[in-house]
């Protein structure tokens, strides 16, 4: 076999400490079954603080909104609810998420309602005084109608803008920076209708600012959008409106793989495998979107850039330090000088290092007689841990059951991780995963850093397999304590009854 192609995960404290407590993790799965999701609520608060540090560095005010859809946990939400109300909020995209946020202790004024909205969602958002992130003039009219019909107070609204690449005359002559088309938001050059709707409905809605969310890792695209929103808000001021917040969405990213070198080696090997100059690295030669056309590689790899030198707060810092394409000032300076608050909505990067997904090994057998590769059958399926769905490639960590059993010594081995559904396609990863030794039945595999979009994003009850339970854990002295996700409250040590107040 060639040298093993590891993609070992980036693991930082306190998650790193939790992983070393093999006995504790095994006891959790023994009690609660496989699969099992484990969350560290304290880590999410630390991440929020890291984002705030970037705000402070640039003298900016405004809120960090947790994008609820990244993880449905109560523990994470309650822990964030305990943070400074002026600094941390939650972004909800359905009426159920809104109810959950309220139930976890967020007051309406800390909640931002985004995404497609039905009448119930709009009504509850307006009722509790949430900020509504408007997608279109039509949505504004519907909201306004509700406010009038039910006699609510004015509702704070942001307007979500899009289509920044088509704005004319504001870029360097002859340069056009393209963007992927989004199905959300109002095109910025069609904002006139939106502005007059805002003016017409001034007694029902309070216009507090503009928003954008771009699905791209490109900093330049985001800086351009940010500047155009500032210019847009300036036009609003000229018309007598007084917006004061700019919401720049999320997409700050997470680095999943620890070593750049491993990531580079693997992606190069994928290209070579697609070209046929080395054996496949994937189940049935899957190319992740790359294809071989007459010896030339075509297509784009549908892979999340799993090793990232800067992500999360670092990425925000870079964005804020970038010069704006027209006005030339750094984007942070632009916001500061125009007296705008900055709102962000990090989903994935706010739950970086906040959780892991555990799966029990059920069975191990050779994939075929001569390859030296194995099928490792897990009590978990691709819906329970959907890293692959998002193109995130990273190795699980093997947690042997025994002390120094045979499984502990051994050689690196390439395995395919198969799920517990009776479907050929149910693989935890379509990639040949290298593990430092062959697992045996009863061992655990820990998928690290799965709190964002991965641990239960696609989980369902089809085929009646158990859906993962979720627990919150906390370090106390020398040991880890746990409680069910739904029993976590930030006021009580984990695993204890709340004191009487």
């Amino acid at each position: 076999m060639d040298a093993p192609l590891y993609l070992r995960p980036r693991v930082e404290p306190p998650l790193a400490g939790l992983l070393t407590d093999r006995h504790f993790l095994h006891s959790l799965v023994d009690a609660l079954g496989s699969p099992l999701n484990v969350l560290l609520p304290e880590a999410v608060a630390e991440n929020a603080a890291r984002f705030r540090t970037v705000y402070d560095r640039h003298h900016l005010t405004g809120r960090v909104y947790f994008a609820h859809k990244a993880n449905r946990s109560s523990a994470l939400l309650r822990r964030l609810a305990a943070e400074d109300p002026a600094a941390v909020g939650v972004d909800v995209a359905s009426v159920a998420e809104l109810r959950h946020a309220l139930g976890c202790g967020f007051t309406g004024d800390r909640i931002m309602a985004t995404g497609p909205k039905d009448a119930a969602f709009l009504w509850l958002a307006a009722r509790v005084g949430a900020t509504v992130n408007l997608d279109s003039p039509g949505e504004l009219e519907r909201l306004s109608g509700l406010v009038r019909a039910h006699g609510f107070g004015r509702v704070a609204v942001l307007v979500r803008l899009s289509g920044f690449e088509h704005a004319s005359g504001r870029e360097g002559a002859g340069t056009r920076l393209l963007s992927r088309r989004s199905r959300f938001g109002t095109p910025v050059q069609g904002a006139e209708a939106l502005l007059s709707a805002l003016e017409r409905n001034a007694e029902t809605v309070e216009f507090v600012g503009a928003a954008y969310h771009l699905d791209t890792t490109g900093l330049e695209e985001k800086a351009r959008a940010l500047e155009q929103c500032v210019l847009f808000m300036d036009e609003c001021r000229a018309r007598g409106l007084s917006p004061r917040a700019l919401d720049i969405g999320g997409g700050f990213g997470v680095g999943y793989v620890a070593e750049a070198e491993e990531w580079e080696r693997w992606t190069t090997a994928l290209t070579e495998a697609v070209l046929g100059v080395r054996p496949p690295l994937t189940w049935r030669g899957h190319g992740y979107g790359l294809r071989n056309e007459g010896g030339t590689v075509r297509g784009a790899a549908a892979l999340y850039p799993a090793h990232r030198p800067t992500a999360g707060p670092g990425y925000l810092d870079e964005l804020l330090s970038l010069p704006a394409p027209v006005l030339g000032r750094h984007t942070a300076t632009l916001l500061l000088e125009h007296l705008h608050d900055l709102h962000i909505e990090p989903g994935r990067s706010l739950v970086d290092q906040c959780g892991l997904s555990l799966a029990r090994v059920l069975d191990v057998r050779p994939a075929d007689p001569d390859s030296g590769q194995y099928l490792v059958h897990l009590a978990m399926n691709a819906g329970d841990m959907s890293l692959e769905e998002h193109g995130v490639l990273v190795d699980p960590v093997l947690l042997p059951r025994g002390g120094t059993t045979a499984a502990v010594d051994g050689e690196a081995v390439g395995v395919y991780l198969t799920g517990n559904l009776c479907l050929e396609g149910d693989l935890l990863t379509r990639r040949l995963v290298h593990l430092p030794r062959l697992p045996v039945a009863g061992d655990l595999l820990a998928f690290v850093n799965t709190a964002g979009y991965a641990m239960d994003f696609h989980a369902h009850r089809a085929q009646r397999q158990p859906v993962a339970r979720t627990v919150a854990v906390e370090r106390r002295g020398e040991s880890w304590n746990w409680c069910p996700d739904e029993d976590y409250w930030p006021i009580t040590p984990v695993g204890e009854q709340p004191d009487e107040v």
Binding site: H59, T268, V297, A302, L334, G391
Partner: protein, 445 residues
């Protein structure tokens, strides 16, 4: 030399020997093929003209647009050629990372389309990259695009097989060199030249240089990216090695400072990669009495890469300080030396002071225009910084109130002005933000 058109000046570039005292090879003569001396400044002049010529000479009604996926030299050459023939040129790229090249292209009249960044929330069923859309647009019926397609067009290779390669053989008195070293971008020059040299002597060894995977050298592809090039055939090369941007700049500096060759980083990479590789062969030749020859390509010139160098090796462009600077006042010094004034006192002072203070708003003109303190003047901080280098910009009899967004920059400038002898300069505590938050009026004029 008298020409009817600048295109006649393409090709016939010199082959210049590198002084052995510079490269240190005892048994190998190393030559640089100076493609930077082509009229538009690079090796790409050849394929650009060879690919575009049949179309441009046929374009009588000056309609249509030449398009190419190029971040640099091919775009530059094509834009100039298109301009000469009254045709437009558009470059589509996501690699335009060198600002001088971008600005030069705009000066020449090119349109630039920059491709979007990668998706953050991946949709794995959507593997349609932006380039697929680009190709679809090209093949639209009624499209007037003329795609030179440098990564797949055999005329790219031909340009070098007919020009660059034979010129090297001619200048080496009818012999092929023992080694040929080229950086791989479109693979056009390495493939075309290698073909001709091997026809002369099948023993020629060809070294292809690519960029280290996580690195960026303008004009060179990484080992993964070369596989996306239709002209790339691994069989062309005896060896493929990678070079880093550090090595490219080292090589570039050697060529510039010791050889008088004003090479860009790609030429530097070729030189550095060549010497690194040839050193072993040179040692083996010691004592055999044999001499060998090697040729590398200097792709283009240094001028367009100053910001590239500034970003990676600022010390090479070291600047000396420009005198007094408010930045030189530390935060602690500013807090100790500057006078501050709260919003309420500042409002009273600016309304009732005798004389009234001059209020200076240090924000950008755009922000100032949006909202400012009535009666204030706007001197943006960068300009203010320059003003201070010349001396005190206000009369000492005029009190000054400095305002910036949160009172941090104004504090430093207040300290700097005090040091320069101004008796009454104060910084607005908390800045314009505090002013607004206190409900004090801001106007828009």
């Amino acid at each position: 030399m008298r020409y009817d058109s600048i295109t006649e000046a393409i090709g016939n570039t010199p082959l210049v020997r590198i002084d052995p005292a510079v490269h240190g090879l005892r048994n190998i003569d190393l030559y640089a093929k100076l493609e930077m001396l082509n009229p538009f400044g690079s090796v790409k002049d050849r394929p650009a003209w060879h690919m575009a010529r049949p179309h441009l000479e046929a374009a009588t009604d000056a309609e249509g647009t030449v398009v190419e996926l190029s971040s640099g030299n091919t775009a530059k050459a094509l834009a100039l050629l298109a301009g000469m023939h009254g045709v437009r040129f558009k470059s589509v790229t996501n690699r335009m990372r060198v600002p001088e090249i971008k600005e030069l292209l705009l000066l020449i009249g090119a349109e630039i389309e920059e491709l979007p960044g990668r998706s953050e929330c991946l949709d794995p069923t959507d593997t349609d990259d932006p380039l697929t859309h680009f190709h679809r647009a090209l093949s639209d019926p009624g499209s007037t695009y003329l795609h030179t397609d440098q990564y797949f067009n055999p005329r790219n290779v031909e340009a070098h097989a007919e020009g660059t390669g034979p010129e090297i053989v001619k200048d080496l008195d009818g012999r092929a060199p023992d080694w040929f070293i080229a950086c791989v971008g479109t693979a056009g020059s390495s493939t075309g030249v290698a073909r001709v040299l091997r026809e002369h002597d099948p023993r020629v060894r060809v070294l292809g240089l690519v960029a280290h995977k996580s690195d960026f050298i303008p004009g060179i592809r990484t080992i993964d990216e070369v596989h996306q090039v239709g002209l790339f055939d691994p069989a062309t090369y005896d060896t493929i090695e990678s070079v880093t941007s550090d090595e490219a700049i080292d090589g570039m500096i050697t060529l510039i400072r010791r050889c008088g060759l004003l090479s860009g980083p790609t030429g530097g990479a070729a030189y550095q990669g060549a010497v690194r590789q040839l050193r072993y062969a040179d040692e083996e030749l010691d004592g055999t009495g044999q001499r060998r020859t090697a040729v590398f390509i200097v792709c283009d010139r240094a001028e367009s890469y100053l910001s590239y160098v500034r970003q990676r090796r600022p010390e090479l462009l070291g600047r000396t300080g420009r005198g007094r600077s408010a930045v030189a006042v530390t935060g602690a010094e500013a807090r100790a030396e500057a006078r501050v004034i709260g919003v309420d006192d500042a409002r009273r002072w600016s309304a009732e002071g005798d004389p009234r203070p001059l209020v200076v708003d240090l924000r950008s003109p755009h922000a100032y225009a949006a909202l400012h303190i009535e009666g204030s003047v706007n001197i943006v901080d960068e300009v203010f910084e320059d003003l201070l280098r010349g001396g005190l910009p206000f009369s000492k009899r005029t009190p000054v109130l400095l305002a910036c967004p949160v009172g941090e920059k104004s504090l430093r400038y207040a300290a700097a002005l005090s040091r320069m002898g101004h008796p009454d300069v104060r910084s607005l505590a908390g800045g314009i933000v505090a002013w607004r938050d206190a409900g004090a009026p801001l106007v828009r004029e």
